[in-house]
Amino acid sequence: MNTIDELKELMLKIGIKECIVNETDPAQPLAGRAMDSIDYPAFIAAVEERYGIIITDRYSLKLRSLNDFMNFINDGS
């Protein structure tokens, strides 16, 4: 399973509907499309727990798409 698939699995885990997860374009911002202001922090928390990382305030505002999360997880950037 690649990182994008893992992230989509986390989206499902926090309760985002499968049809929305399937339609999510990894290059597009998640906010306003796949996630609202309640889902987004839940997703960050799920990513931190799954990968054992801490996403600081500053980074959290730069991680807007699944690709951003994937790059951060894989490269730390």
């Binding site: 885990k13 309760g15 499309r33 987004y40 922090p41 500053r58």
Partner: protein, 496 residues
């Protein structure tokens, strides 16, 4: 001793100066100052015809549409106390507020079912459409004798969430609507009749009430109303169409706008962006400034104090700080024994000023605890002050301010405990994605496995019972919860 009626102060000058100017925009429609004045007077007459006497409470449960200022100011004109409750409130809160304020009349919207199901046929109801009462059978009698309030009369009351989960009524006198206009609107924000004001916070919150009712009418400006949920897509659409000059919002909305932006730059028409409701993280301030070229003026106020008492000044905003103490207010930072702490040390913030509420409605014990005999109000916030700037450091109680809403841990814990997998739980503030949110610490019932789908199931369980901002964003599963020797949950040990 009599005082001026705030509704007269907010309406009459505009009627003289620019009767045909838009007081409000909502969707594609506008309401002029002449239309607003006429509708408010008609509403005041309607209240009189319904037998509502000065001092009686009128419960207003309306979305942000023209009908709200019409009903609210109509109450003030007639001398009734406008009790503004949010259209988003769940039935339990509405039931409590209705009983607590003792209203004999409900003003609600035809499309809202909850308020009427709560009150049944116990009181009279004025049903409204977007513009005002639907069946206004009263021919327009001139209402030319607005109530002249005494210094003891209340004008309105808002409800603020309490730590036990039950909201507390916070009554205010007429001048509470006017003083923030002078102290903050004129002297600090420089609001004039040229401004177009857009507040994403609703009328039923003190921040939204002053932003969308007091400020625009006091200065003859125009306010934009948005009936729906304040998500960033709707907000950006309104900003693009109506081009507000001042935007009042909350950190959660600023964060959502930042996160939804695919471009490197965002061009916006405002001259001022303001924030309140919860502490604005430095990272959000800085990213917004990078994205838009504008600073966000963060400030702290409360329902008890009507509006901001600490705020940043345009052109001098400091990232991560709530700003400086505003003229007209006094503040103290004290330790748990009530002694002032030295500058640079954390302390409990006490504040006093002429906009303070004298007590909580029907809560003498809580009032005595919060409204101190020397005129200071205990805010429950911990701050540190450096070189005149105040920095938020958290709460002294277990309450959580999330998405500019108060969240009582007790309420969320009760909802979680109703799930069969939860043996025990605690809810505390956690910092995730630059903002403070509720986090849940759960002890599972014996035999329950921590499956991958359990978190989603618990979130859905809470969402089905409570407003979405109360839903924990993080779930941690534990063997046991930290407790005192007497068995009380130590939520402060779980804050992250």
């Amino acid at each position: 001793m009599s005082r001026s009626n705030a509704a007269v102060e907010l309406l009459s000058r505009n009627l003289e100066l620019h009767p045909d100017k838009a007081a409000y925009f909502c969707g594609d429609r506008a309401l002029s100052y002449r239309e607003l004045d006429k509708a408010c007077r008609r509403f005041a007459r309607l209240l009189q015809k319904q037998g509502i006497a000065p001092g009686e409470r009128v419960l207003i449960v309306l979305p942000d549409c023209f009908a709200f200022p019409v009903a609210f100011l109509g109450c003030l004109l007639s001398g009734a106390v406008a009790v503004a409750a949010g259209a988003h409130l769940v039935e339990g809160d509405l039931t409590y507020i209705f009983g607590d304020c003792g209203a004999r009349l409900l003003v609600s919207h035809a499309e809202l079912a909850a308020p009427r199901s709560v009150i049944g046929d116990k009181v009279k109801v004025i049903l409204c459409g977007d513009d005002g009462p639907l069946e206004d059978s009263i021919s327009f009698d001139t209402f030319d004798s607005p109530y002249l309030p005494s210094s003891e009369d209340f004008a309105y009351m808002l409800y603020s969430s309490g730590s036990t989960g039950m909201p507390k009524g916070v009554p205010h006198r007429h001048e509470s609507l006017l003083l923030p206009c002078d102290l903050m609107g004129r002297d600090l924000l420089g609001i004039t009749s040229d401004d177009v004001i857009f507040s994403s916070s609703k009328f039923s919150f003190t921040y939204g009430l002053i932003n969308s009712l007091a400020f625009p009418l006091r200065f003859g400006a125009t306010a934009i109303l948005h009936q729906g949920k304040p998500d960033q897509r709707a907000i950006l659409d309104i900003i693009s169409r109506r081009k507000p000059s001042i935007f009042f919002s909350v950190p959660t909305i600023y964060t959502q706008i930042i996160l939804s932006c695919a471009q490197r730059q965002l061009k916006l028409p405002m001259r001022l962006c303001c924030s309140a409701g919860e502490a604005l993280p430095a990272a959000v301030f800085e990213e917004w400034q990078r994205l838009t070229g504008m600073e966000i003026l963060d400030g702290i106020g409360s329902t008890e104090m009507t509006y901001h008492f600490i705020c940043n000044i345009p052109g001098q905003a400091v990232a991560g700080s709530a700003g400086r103490l505003l003229p007209g207010y006094r503040a103290r930072l004290v330790d748990n024994n009530g002694n002032d702490v030295p500058a640079g040390s954390e302390g409990n913030l006490l504040v006093s000023g002429d906009t303070s509420s004298p007590f909580y409605w029907n809560h003498p014990e809580k009032s005595a605890e919060t409204m101190l005999p020397d005129g200071f109000i205990r805010t429950g916030d911990i701050f540190v002050e450096r070189k005149g700037f105040y920095y938020h450091r958290g709460r002294s109680d277990d309450m959580i301010k999330a998405g500019a809403h108060w969240v009582s841990p007790v309420t969320v814990e009760d909802a979680l405990r109703s799930h069969p997998a939860v043996a025990d739980c605690a809810v505390a503030a956690v910092s995730v994605g630059a903002l403070i949110k509720p986090g849940a610490f759960v002890v599972l019932t014996p035999g329950t496995e921590q499956t991958p789908g359990l978190t989603g199931e618990l979130r859905a369980h809470v969402m089905a019972r409570l407003p979405d901002y109360m839903c924990p964003v993080r779930f941690r599963f534990m063997e046991e919860l930290p407790r005192t020797s007497t068995g009380k949950i130590q939520r402060f040990r779980m804050r992250e």
